[in-house]
Symmetry: C2
Subunit: 481 residues, 2 copies
Amino acid sequence: MTDTHAKPEIANADPVLEKALAILGPRGLVTDADTIEPWLTDWRGRYHGAARALAQPETVEELAQLIKLCGESGVPIVPQGGNSGMVGGATPDQSGDAILLSTRRFQGIEIDEQTMTARCGAGVILQVLHEAAEDVGLRFPLSLGGKGSATVGGLIATNAGGTQVLRHGTMRALVEGIEVVLPNGDVLDLTSPLKKDNRGFDLKQLWIGSEGTLGIVTSAVLQLVPAIAERRVVWAGLPDIFTARKLLLHCQRAMPDALEGFEVMPGICIEQVLKYVPNAQSPLEGEHGWHVLLEFDAAKDAADGFGEAVEQVLADAFEAGLIEDAVIAANEGQAAQFWELRENISPAEKQRGPAMQHDISVAVASMPEVLSKAEKEIPELFPGTMVMGFGHLGDGNIHLHVCEPGAPDKAAWEASTGKAVSRWVYEMVTAAGGSISAEHGIGQDKRDILLETHDPAAIRAMRAVKAALDPQGLLNPGKLV
Amino acid sequence: MTDTHAKPEIANADPVLEKALAILGPRGLVTDADTIEPWLTDWRGRYHGAARALAQPETVEELAQLIKLCGESGVPIVPQGGNSGMVGGATPDQSGDAILLSTRRFQGIEIDEQTMTARCGAGVILQVLHEAAEDVGLRFPLSLGGKGSATVGGLIATNAGGTQVLRHGTMRALVEGIEVVLPNGDVLDLTSPLKKDNRGFDLKQLWIGSEGTLGIVTSAVLQLVPAIAERRVVWAGLPDIFTARKLLLHCQRAMPDALEGFEVMPGICIEQVLKYVPNAQSPLEGEHGWHVLLEFDAAKDAADGFGEAVEQVLADAFEAGLIEDAVIAANEGQAAQFWELRENISPAEKQRGPAMQHDISVAVASMPEVLSKAEKEIPELFPGTMVMGFGHLGDGNIHLHVCEPGAPDKAAWEASTGKAVSRWVYEMVTAAGGSISAEHGIGQDKRDILLETHDPAAIRAMRAVKAALDPQGLLNPGKLV
């Protein structure tokens, strides 16, 4: 963001920008192309757009006025949080018609320790919220790779997931209330602290996961949970994904309230990390078909005998033939190393070369079969490709990455064979009753495949709601539906 | 419901009913006035309507065809589950234009023990679901007074609450998926067992709590939880509602995962029960300003040392001056007696005479003050009235009943002073940032007061969604918005 307060240069005396400037003031409207530039490309570098200006209102009232102005002038608005999305949902098209809207100036965190909630501005960065909660002995139990950039507003707009969904749910489960500005400029305050309220439809649910197509979230009240008193992070090796599923059930039955993480990784993923990431080390000595990273957490009231209980769960799993080997992190440093190994899968893959990435979900019980089918059939149909399916087995959500076979022209491979791989994956997942987007959303990246694979009745209902709330279609056009 | 399969008599050769008969068959369309009659009056006997016929489709396809027919013919549809709602939401108006639609033939319960879910027809009665879950060592953790009549479809349409919301949430938190027929006849299957799915708006949230105004729920997948291994039901006496709030916090901090019930009752409520209900007995010997019914539950994995933990919580509460006296039910029989005493408040009140009933919520922390204000000011403003505020303090939800002062003409009192009392209550609650309907919904009973007290921006948004999905306004007209 710029810090200059000089009056922005407005090209060709654009009357909409003149009015926007009057509403937002010089700090709230950026027209300098160099300042805007970084925000016009998406996180993965796959989309690049253009914008008339970057608006960064400071108050909800300013935002409401800006939205009314855009409605009167027919100017599209593309909202953006931390610009760390995976599907181009915050990148404008190339026409340069749209105003890019940043919510990053909506700041402030107020924590109510008694009700264990945090009232946050939409621009608050996830990492900052984590730290604020920790400072008072609480925590916000949602985390993901982009936590240093992702904002509360963006997390809500995309119903973000991550590695703790198994126990605490996605963003939707953690949002107690939101304040949102509608396409007609109405400000809707849905942050009331009521635990029960049956005054009509639960409107806030509409905006969670709507990817900025129905309104702009300006602040939220989020649920916090007690800080972790003790945790046990475990690395386990086992022969196949079917056994991993059995281990998951075993752990869920034994310690349902403690299991917070259950990440699965095929042996091939770990090999890549060891090969490409300096100083990476496998926690286990032998080779295993699959690896599982487990995290068990205890709050203060459940910490008695907790370590012993985890050891017992693992001993029982070994006895039952569910694990070949396992190690419990001896200290926080080792626990962090285990998680780092998991988080290094994507960086290692990036060094290796391009991959078609699919964020899919199916019923947890069906995942082993779906994954085995993909591992077997994709290399047969697309020779030389390597399939890496890893991630949140406990949520039925796997990141199914298909690495290119060393093609001379990577971009050409992606555009032809790569596309065919993705189509095959999405059709298989749809046939299995699954989702083509478990946690990353639709954005512009998956819009066409959504329209092809999704229930037409659901598309009709979504479009009806969109048309009702945004009849001019000015909010984040070209995204989602 | 009728069991006759004879062809219904259709008055004046009503062409819509002729076509409906062709779709539904003789068992699916009831025109006999005596058979329909009981379903035209609401649970509390305050609303009475008329209907063209009673439709009771057997299949989703039949229902979709009926809805399309009604759309083509401009015939309103009033859906009904167990007809046990509190706000006249399932009672048609007196025009006789509407078809009353019963979902009671959508039956069937399939329990998946592994995923702990139940797939139910909308017509399944809550009590029946409770028993089916118990049969396999699970439970459905939502219960309320009307459980012998209330259906799954009605519970979803009204986002029902009850006495276990504190730990398990309202119906919304327990619905994994629904199948719904839309006003345009589309059948939307939102019952996929995916734990994560970010393909656009979470549509199912729209229908939960929409009171039949946006579509008809035909089946649902509901979350079950493990059966209770052990429970401790406690009756406590304490001086005032402020202390009750402190006791709540004390229990929530000490045993956050175990506290399932926290019902507060003023001494005057208990006096009424002892006076009007034969054989009712107070669990405590002395007199107390307020009584609290607490339930602590332990699942199998948490049953170790559970009884001792509850005793410790109570001992600490006594030590801290939070309770004057308390007794733990010695066995299941006594536990049931404690709950019966709580459930007898409404029957006792009914014997005493009419009362204006208000199902309100405010932030839990604000409830003691709101309640004290009501107890002090209502009898001052409306002499002779008696205020009884009882219920789910843990949810910030109190049933605030104001008993009439022995007026000679009860009906006249209700229509004049009673109405003024209600207006005072709703205005006070709104000023305190609360809800005029915590769990009972809006129906026809609270529609006008909703329009007067609610945020106009929220009403506009609800009306926009309603118009988008039901442009003819044929589904449950005159209810909600």
